[in-house]
Symmetry: C2
Subunit: 168 residues, 2 copies
Amino acid sequence: MADAATPTTPPAGDFETGLEGNDKLQLRLWLRLLTCSNLIESEIRRRLRRDFATTLPRFDLLSQLDRSPGGLSMTELSQRLMVSNGNLTGLVDRLVADGQVSRRADPKDRRTSHISLTARGKRHFDEMTPAHETWVEDMLAGLGGSDMRQLHALLAQLKQSVGGSKEA
Amino acid sequence: MADAATPTTPPAGDFETGLEGNDKLQLRLWLRLLTCSNLIESEIRRRLRRDFATTLPRFDLLSQLDRSPGGLSMTELSQRLMVSNGNLTGLVDRLVADGQVSRRADPKDRRTSHISLTARGKRHFDEMTPAHETWVEDMLAGLGGSDMRQLHALLAQLKQSVGGSKEA
DNA sequence: CGGAATTGTTTTAAGCCTAAAATAACGGCC
DNA sequence: GGCCGTTATTTTAGGCTTAAAACAATTCCG
């Protein structure tokens, strides 16, 4: 029951603030999902900056490369990071300038380049990843193991539902 | 069991691609949440551009104003949209230039301004919102009602867990 | 072989976003 | 009144992001 007249302390709203009870469940669900995602993401962003003077896209890029020791092409990277290829060009440029990542031309196909971690990039990533893991664990600490598994499964369904909705 | 040797068709990965089974459940859960959020968000972005030649931040801003007919201050808006106040200045500037939103000075406090929908902004929003609602419904159509309610409840727990983790 | 369609990447133009510093106005307090 | 801490917003500098166009190399196929 919202009291529009005399809010003692406006409690720092989010996307869900001001939603009406008669709004569709789908919409409320989507907004809550977005809120959760934004909360976690911005907290990780904040800590990456504070503790490691870096950004989330840079961290995500190093993370993907760490999982693929053979290197990845620009296209593979842009798909995994879910960003445009043009975006990736600048991001890789900055990381190359930083010495954390290297571009290597493909001998068979001169269009493609393979991006991989440099020793320095790997070292930097290895410094950050334990802290990152702890942050995520802490933020999700309020959920029990069975809650997490349930949520994980429901999100799998959601992912499939979203993916399927455009193939019609 | 991933086969790195001969992938018949690399199926357009996402953040979860390349995750190892021994990664922590918390991390896998977070990446799946982020993937779902990104998938839905980028699809909505794409359709807003295609069908209404606008962007998600603009739509979200109109949406918040629509829920608060009395208008909102810049600070209230930035909290609800979960963006920085500096960001909001530019966003509002563009929408004012577009004639969709208006700034009104507070007579009691010359620091604050109240932002509200113009008639044109309201009209524009009312055109978009049924389509937007349909998009979300379609994307979530693969989930049953009880799944949605369960997911909604679990995300409430998650939201609380994340919010509580920084007050320690 | 030689054009045509395709694929991989970069460029471009514009908008979004943040943190931090700067401005400006308010309120309390001597 | 005049200073001081707080609050509301804008400015600044730099990075992130996208869609669309441009460029370049490959492959298809007659």
